[in-house]
């Protein structure tokens, strides 16, 4: 089992969600985050004083999937979240040690 974490542009959330549900991913967790990569922030002025905002609003999506689904998931996210412009985001894949469905107590891949 793998945990796929994607940081994307906020307005792409609906597209990514559709793309994932089309390949059969049944559940995701979404968090509003701020971050930056190589995309620089911007400068703002507040009452005449300049300040740099390095952190840009992003959305983090986490999906726990079976190991054999990972490539399809990466593909789906990449296709739907891509705008070609800087700041599109990143995808991280990590190993998932255990998964439990709270309602029934199922564990392992059946709980995904």
């Amino acid at each position: 089992m793998k945990l796929v974490t994607a940081i994307i542009k906020p307005f792409k959330l609906d597209d990514v969600r559709e793309g994932l549900s089309e390949i059969g991913v049944q559940g995701i967790t979404v968090t509003e985050v701020k971050g930056f990569g190589r995309q620089k922030g911007h400068t703002e002025l507040y009452r005449g004083a300049e300040y740099v905002v390095d952190f840009l609003p992003k959305v983090k999506i986490e999906a726990a999937v079976a190991a054999d689904m990972v490539d399809k998931v990466i593909d789906a996210i990449t296709k739907s979240a891509n705008t070609g412009k800087i700041g599109d985001g990143k995808i991280f894949v990590s190993s998932l040690e255990q998964t439990v469905r709270i309602r029934t107590g199922e564990t392992g891949p059946e709980a995904l």
Partner: protein, 421 residues
């Protein structure tokens, strides 16, 4: 006797000033309502629009608008207004007041003050409908034209004693002159502006774009409700004798009753249609009730006023849904609340005022709509050609707070030294 006349003058002047202040306070109401119904990333910009439009209206109406709208008795029954300016005019002297036998019963400037806050109200109706995607300065340029010219001309036709007044068109506090006018200008703007990105999907379904702050939206509605007592109450124009004082009291009661009717009706319709009680519909319902009674808050009984407001509440829910169906994107429902229900308000006058005729009301409605729509769409069109009225797609996604104001309404992640250092 002279002392009583002078006191009466002072009281009526004071009444204009105080009710004018209540109407000014509606600007705060609009600001909070709109701030609550847009997304967080667009909040600072809409607040900027609201405070700046009030300033623009105050100045333009002082410079030209007031004199276009109230050129004096020489223009009675006319279509063509006067051109003049408030600057340099003088107010009434004590001797003039006493000699007038009751005709001159308030300070001229108090009348200006009372009227200027109405212009600002009409203009602020536009700001909600074009929210989240219009260039701030395009909006302000339109505000200059609207408050200095478009509104005063149609205001002259009714309240300034012009042609609509001569035709017997009745509009006590402005369902037509203020609310329909503002909503029509908004409608023209939205037609040229287009919907927010992502609002109407390619497959025809509608995306909700929820507002970020329900407490502010509710606060704004209550502030507007309170200000409306000045809006309608002050439009009685006199309070200084028993009959007028009673009339003012009735106007206050009817205004309140209509708002209440609007809330309940809108809530019930929303509950029936959606299965849930939508707060935003209840808020719009209150305002719809208020708009509906604004054309005639004096002659109905409080029970009838409640009913008129309730009909407004029903209309507004369906109108909001209908506008979305035809892809007119109005983030706060301004066109429905002020325009569609404004029309109902004008027609409802015949239910209780024997001097009203359906023909005159329809004529007034049609003329105000036609004039405002044509003048607005020409103005918006010119602005669009010259500087454009819509922000770019990137700016819309990032939020107009950043592109237009350079600051955020709800800034986070600012380091302890005030910058990301």
């Amino acid at each position: 006797m002279d002392a009583i006349t002078e006191l009466s003058y002072a009281l009526d002047t004071f009444y204009f000033l105080v009710t004018g202040v209540l109407v000014m306070w509606m600007a705060a109401g609009f600001s909070m309502l709109e701030a609550g119904l847009v997304r967080a990333k667009n909040t600072a910009e809409i607040l900027t629009k609201n405070i700046s439009l009030f300033a623009v209206a105050s100045i333009m109406y002082m410079l030209y608008g007031y004199s276009i709208m109230y050129p004096g008795d020489a223009f009675a029954g006319a279509w063509w207004p006067g051109i003049g300016s408030l600057l340099g005019s003088t107010d009434n002297t004590s001797a003039e007041v006493l000699a007038s036998g009751g005709d001159t019963y308030y300070s001229n400037l108090s009348d200006f003050f009372f009227q200027v806050v109405f212009v600002a109200t009409a203009m602020s109706i536009v700001s909600g409908a074009v929210a989240e995607r219009m260039k701030l300065w395009a909006f302000l340029i339109f505000a200059v034209v609207m408050t200095g010219f478009i509104y005063p001309v149609q205001g002259f036709w009714k309240w300034g004693g012009g042609a609509l007044d001569a035709l017997g068109f009745l509009d006590f506090a402005g369902s037509g002159v203020v609310h329909l006018c503002g909503a029509t200008a908004a409608f023209a703007g939205v037609l040229l502006l287009g919907a927010r990105k992502g609002k109407y999907r390619a497959d025809g379904t509608i995306s909700p774009i929820p507002g970020c702050n329900m407490p502010l939206a509710t606060l704004g509605t209550f502030i507007l409700w309170m200000g409306w007592f000045g809006f309608n109450g002050g439009s009685e124009l006199v309070i200084s004798n028993v009959e007028e004082a009673n009339a003012v009291a009735l106007v206050f009661v009817n205004t309140n009753a209509a708002a209440a009717g609007g809330v309940i009706a809108a809530m019930m319709v929303a509950r029936l249609l959606f299965g849930k009680t939508d707060l935003t519909m209840a808020l719009n319902g209150a305002l719809a009730g208020l708009v509906a009674i604004t054309a005639e808050p004096l002659t109905p009984t409080p029970l009838l006023a409640t009913g008129i407001g309730a009909v407004g509440g029903v209309i507004v829910v369906f109108s909001i849904l209908a506008l979305d169906k035809i892809r007119i994107d109005d983030p706060v429902g301004a066109i429905s609340v002020h325009g569609v229900v404004g029309m109902w308000g004008l027609l409802a006058v015949v239910l209780s005022n024997p001097d009203a005729t359906l023909v005159a009301q329809l004529t007034g409605l049609g003329v105000i709509f036609a004039w405002t729509f044509v003048a607005s769409i020409v103005t918006w069109g010119i602005i669009k050609m010259v500087i454009g009225i819509r922000v770019s797609e990137e700016e819309e996604y990032a939020g107009v707070d950043l592109s237009e104001c350079g600051l955020e309404a709800y800034p986070e992640f600012v380091g302890s030294q005030g910058s990301g250092k």
